[in-house]
């Protein structure tokens, strides 16, 4: 929670509050009152650079004006023209609150409460701070700060507060300020003259604004004494804001305006528009510069890291280059070897062909494992055929009976099954002369 400093300029004195507001809870750390002429000394001593100012403007233009009902974006411009016409102000800033829209003979019209101040008065305040190298965070009219706190649901509140030798009457309806007036007073407390003025203000509200205040709320010092008891015929209340502070509640009674200004209230900032625009630009440039600086710092770190990596990589590269073999020698040696090897290729082909060719000696040896009982060979012929050997066997079966001849031949032919790579292509037994022919492929 960052602490804010609010300075309320009230006549000859400046009330200063150190505090903060979080989630509607106002916390006050310190509060003091200094003479206005000592403000520069205070600002010179104070280390904070930003201040929220609450000011009681000496010569504001405040009135309820009626303007044609237009779109919201055009309304402010029309109000500005109307204020310029009615107040005679040339250079001014204003706050407005829309009271309502009504139908008239001239068409639909919008009633607006306007509070305008001359920029010269605002600039004079701002300049006092600028001369001490301080910035005005926001400049609030005191009446708006107080009226915002008076916003009660379903209640039209007439707020009565004291400012110097004046009494301020403000009508707050539906949370927005509808009307305000100041009257001179002979005493800081509520007196009979003030009560008369209060009655007249109520009548004005009823007759002109058609609003009957349901509650009269006394704020500031008036909320601490028995002012409420003096008013007859109306509901009254005393405004005592919920403040978390180590200071006595009574001690903070005179600080209502600065304490309430600790809360959010940007909509009531009446500082000159160019000043606000310059502040916004300054803030944007500041954040942008910080972002640039942060990114530059980040890039510097990244650059350092990348440079270190590059250095390590370069060292590795140099070491790698130093131990790199003579590429030309390797390539020329390889090429020479390849050329030399080409002469070996026919030999390798011959050797491979010899290794791949089926061996007739193996086939011959396999024949000895066959069942050759009663078999006599007259011819064994072996010829190469498509990567295999074609074995042609001719012979006769030595047997007296035909049946046994057939049996011996079949046994002989079946015995080829023992040779895995052998496949009988043709088998023929000429039973008449007991001769046979067998052709087998051996792979």
């Amino acid at each position: 929670m960052s602490a804010s400093i609010v300075i309320s300029l009230e006549g000859q004195s400046a009330r200063i509050v150190y505090g903060a507001a979080v989630s509607g809870v106002v916390t006050v750390k310190d509060a003091l009152v200094i003479p206005v002429e000592k403000l520069e000394d205070f600002l010179s001593r104070e280390r904070a650079s930003e201040f929220t100012i609450v000011n009681h403007f000496s010569d504001p233009f405040q009135d309820v004006i009626s303007v044609p009902a237009v779109k919201k974006r055009l309304l402010r411009k029309i109000i500005e023209i109307e204020v310029r016409k009615k107040s005679g102000f040339r250079d001014f800033s204003f706050i407005h609150t829309v009271i309502g829209t009504r139908a008239t003979d001239q068409g639909k019209r919008t009633d607006v409460f306007v509070f305008a101040v001359k920029n010269d008065e605002s600039r004079a305040i701002i300049e006092r701070f600028a001369s001490r190298n301080k910035t005005v965070k926001a400049l609030y009219p005191d009446v708006f700060v107080l009226s915002r706190a008076m916003a009660l649901k379903d209640e039209d509140v007439l707020c009565v507060s004291a400012s110097g030798n004046k009494k301020v009457f403000s009508l707050v309806k539906d949370g927005t300020l509808q009307f305000t007036r100041e009257v001179l007073s002979s005493s800081p407390e509520l007196n009979s003259f003030d009560i008369q003025n209060l009655d007249m203000t109520v009548n004005y509200c009823r007759q002109s604004l058609r609003v009957m205040p349901s509650l009269v709320m006394f704020a500031g010092r008036l909320g601490q004494d028995d002012s409420a008891a003096a008013v007859r015929g109306m509901h009254t209340a005393c405004f005592r804001p919920a403040i978390a502070s180590i200071m006595a509640r009574e001690a903070l009674a005179d600080f209502s305006a600065p304490v309430l200004a600790l809360g959010p209230g940007a909509a009531f900032d009446i500082s000159p528009a160019p000043y606000r625009a310059d502040k916004l630009k300054t803030r944007l440039l500041k954040y942008s510069s910080i972002t640039f600086a942060a990114m530059a710092a980040f890039l510097a770190v990244m650059s350092y890291s990348a440079l270190r990596d590059a250095g390590a990589a370069k060292q590795g590269l140099q070491a790698s280059l130093a131990t790199l073999p003579d590429i030309d020698a390797v390539v020329s040696s390889h090429e020479a070897r390849k050329t030399e090897f080409e002469r070996y290729v026919p030999f390798i082909d011959t050797i491979n062909r010899a290794a791949a060719a089926p061996d007739p000696a193996v086939v011959m040896a396999a024949l000895s494992r066959l069942d050759t009982e009663r078999i006599t060979f007259s011819l064994i012929n072996i010829t190469p055929s498509d990567g295999a050997l074609r074995l042609r066997l001719e012979g006769s079966v030595r047997s007296n009976s035909y049946a046994s001849t057939q049996s011996y031949f079949e046994k002989f032919a079946d015995s080829f099954k023992k040779i895995n790579s052998a496949q009988i292509v043709e088998q023929r037994l000429m039973i008449k002369d007991r001769n046979f022919l067998l052709e087998v492929d051996c792979r």
């Binding site: 590269l317 073999p325 390797v330 040696s333 390889h334």
Partner: protein, 187 residues
């Protein structure tokens, strides 16, 4: 200090920060580019080293194959011509197969391959001897005996004796090879 003075000062700060940021960004991009280049070159050098090693290994493999080929060559290969080598093989067959008669045809050469057709004939009563004779023909790879036909026919009037007639071609490359540089032939 008025807000406009502050704004002017902040604008200068912003400009300076922007320039510093731009310089930092340029520097980072340059350094990063340099780093990427060095790493890429290092990777390229590693690749070259691996390729060179692979090439050297391949050269060694070729050399090993050459040595294997030379080991398969018969004794006296260096001092004899290819034709002499083939005829020496024929002489060896003659002594290896008992009682064999060998009929030679003429040498022929095609696609750097020298060929010598021949017919080996021998009689034997032992089947085992016959198998040995055929195996003897296959014992040499250079020159290599390529079988064309084996004919084993029982001799007239004999129960166990047979005539072995083996036709084939003795082949070997006509060119000569020598020991590869940096290698010794072991036979």
């Amino acid at each position: 200090m008025t807000v406009s003075v502050k704004l002017s000062r902040m604008a200068k700060c912003h400009l300076a920060a922007g320039i510093i940021f731009s310089l930092a960004l340029c520097a980072y991009l340059l350094i990063e580019n340099y780093r990427a280049s060095v790493i890429e070159i290092r990777s390229g050098v590693s690749s070259i080293r691996a390729n060179a090693q692979s090439m050297a290994d391949e050269t060694e493999k070729i050399k090993d194959r050459q040595i294997q080929v030379l080991r398969a060559l018969p004794a006296g290969y260096d001092s004899s011509s290819s034709r002499e080598m083939m005829l020496l093989s024929v002489e060896k067959l003659k002594t290896g197969i008992k009682g064999a008669s060998i009929a030679l045809d003429e040498f022929s050469e095609s696609d750097a391959i020298l060929s010598l057709p021949l017919i080996v004939e021998f009689d034997t009563a032992s089947f085992e001897e016959g198998v040995k004779g055929i195996a003897a023909l296959r014992s040499s790879t250079v020159p290599y005996f390529e079988f064309r036909n084996i004919d084993i026919r029982r001799l007239e009037g004999s129960y166990s004796s047979a005539r072995y007639k083996i036709e084939g071609v003795l082949t070997m490359p006509s060119g000569k090879i020598t020991s590869p540089s940096g290698a010794e032939k072991t036979l």
